[in-house]
Amino acid sequence: LPVAPKKEKEDVQFAKKYLENFYDFKEEKHSLFKAKDLSLMADKIREMQSFFGLKVTGELNHETMDMMKQPRCGIPDIRSYS
């Protein structure tokens, strides 16, 4: 479908923020290469899934979203403080 469902959009935004905070994901705001961004995000999702022992798919599935929504410590898992 040309337009992603609202819920899905919210999930992606939430996941981006999560990956920025805890996995050093940086979205290139003005990038012309959206595919590159998606690939970077998938890599970060894989990193996160691997850290938590989830099935590593690179996809934002329910299991991964559930883990991202758990209450947690604000210290990054992979990246260090900047």
């Binding site: 905070n21 805890f22 850290f51 938590f52 022992g53 883990m67 758990q70 209450p71 947690r72 410590c73 604000g74 210290i75 990054p76 898992d77 260090s80 403080y81 900047s82």
Partner: protein, 402 residues
């Protein structure tokens, strides 16, 4: 550890509580923080001294939203707290999100301050996040019982990689920490405040009791239950999982299935028609369905109809045919009707009167294939359910293909 492994280059580290959350009594906040420090001091040479003014190495505060660093808090849920690795200035400081509901209890209605503080202070000392599920430094909050809380071996390995093990002369056995003293140095070094039992002794880092071998002839169990066709044997924090689908016995921990349950069950049984397993420990019980703990638990065992003189259950077993559950306490047993949710009249009765040949107390009980199996010490007694007749006596671990 963090990049470059920052640590405190001294063993005497100071902390200061800058403010308090209104969610808890100040004394409870102080107690939670002090207990959290004690966890780490019990496995390292570090000593933590509370100061009441000026700059401390570790400054502890509660704040909401933006609070002066580059990591604003995010309202209820999400991020609960954060802390900085050892260094000067903000280094070592621990911040707790005031938008959370902080509690000293282990409930689902708030976050246990002791657990979160212990985790954050791990960061303050130089530990980063662990990917070992069950470790204190795992990044996700997991409600769990904090009585007799002990560090995971992964946490101990991490902190001792930075600071080494405790010095013999400065270590103490685990003891309740002081809550009333105006200042506290942890570990406490005031022999006059100690009872003889609490005198300094040589201690080694905590290691949970090792899981006994499957075929150890002296193997005993705390509790046994079926669960969705499988059989689970419990001993301390360990679970032996026997599945009809696999020949191997799987070894797990209670924590890996139900992180918030307390290890060391007294009794357990399954009501298979309701997909429900009940676990008993001391005077409380929990109901679980698969991995989920049902809301509203734990409940007192007296809500099942036991008199207040009953403080704990030795064993429990459910008879699928009669829908009755038998509870064993000392030399007596009760019969509970699962349909009416009430204790049956005429009970308790003496175990010896109805189950001749079975001694007491019973450690654990299991219903399987038309038989009851009563476990006592390293033996189990196979009893025909209908005739209540002892068929044979076997070793407790006969289920493990020994």
């Amino acid at each position: 550890t963090f990049p470059h492994s920052p640590t405190w280059q001294k063993e005497d580290v100071t902390y200061r509580i800058l403010n308090y959350t209104p969610d808890m009594l100040q004394a409870d906040v102080e107690e939670a923080i002090a207990r959290a420090f004690q966890l780490w001091s019990s496995v390292t040479p570090l000593k933590f001294t509370r100061v009441y003014g000026g700059q401390a190495d570790i400054m502890i505060s509660f704040a909401a939203g933006f609070h002066g660093d580059f990591y604003s808090f995010d309202g209820p849920g999400g991020t609960l707290a954060h802390a900085y690795p050892p260094s000067s200035g903000i280094g070592g400081d621990a911040h707790f999100d005031e938008d959370e509901n902080w509690t000293k209890f282990t409930t689902y209605g708030g976050y246990n301050l002791f657990l979160v503080a212990a985790h954050e202070l791990g960061h303050s000392l130089g530990l980063s996040h662990s990917n070992v599920f069950g470790a204190l430094m795992y990044p996700i909050y997991m409600a769990r019982d904090t009585r007799d809380y002990q560090l995971h071996q992964d946490d101990i390995d991490g902190i001792q990689a930075l600071y080494g093990p405790p010095r013999e002369s400065s270590t103490l056995p685990t003891k309740p920490f002081p809550t009333q003293e105006p200042t506290e140095t942890i570990p406490a070094e005031a022999p006059t405040q100690m009872s003889p039992r609490e005198e300094p002794t040589e201690t080694t880092p905590f290691k949970p009791p090792q899981r006994p071998e499957d075929c150890d002839p002296h193997l005993t169990f705390d509790a046994i239950t079926t669960l969705r066709g499988e059989t689970l044997f419990f001993k301390d924090s360990y679970v032996w999982r026997k599945s009809p689908y696999f020949s191997e016995i799987e070894h797990d921990t209670i924590f890996s299935f139900w992180p918030s349950l307390i290890a060391g069950f007294d009794a357990a049984y399954e009501v298979d028609k309701r997909d429900r397993v009940l676990f008993f420990k001391d005077d409380q019980y929990w109901a679980v369905s698969g991995y989920n703990i049902e809301p509203g638990f734990p409940k007192p065992i007296h809500s099942l109809g036991f008199p207040t003189s009953v403080r704990k259950i030795d064993a429990a077993v459910h008879d699928q045919n009669t829908k009755r559950t038998y509870f064993f306490v000392g030399h007596k047993y009760w019969s509970f009707n699962e349909n009416t949710h009430s204790m049956e009249r005429g009970y308790p009765r003496k175990i010896a009167a109805d189950f001749p040949g079975i001694g007491y107390p019973i450690d654990a009980a299991l219903q399987k294939n038309g038989y009851f199996y009563f476990f006592r010490g390293s033996n189990q007694y196979e009893v025909d359910i209908k005739r209540k007749k002892l068929i044979r006596i076997m070793k407790s671990n006969s289920w493990f293909n020994c």
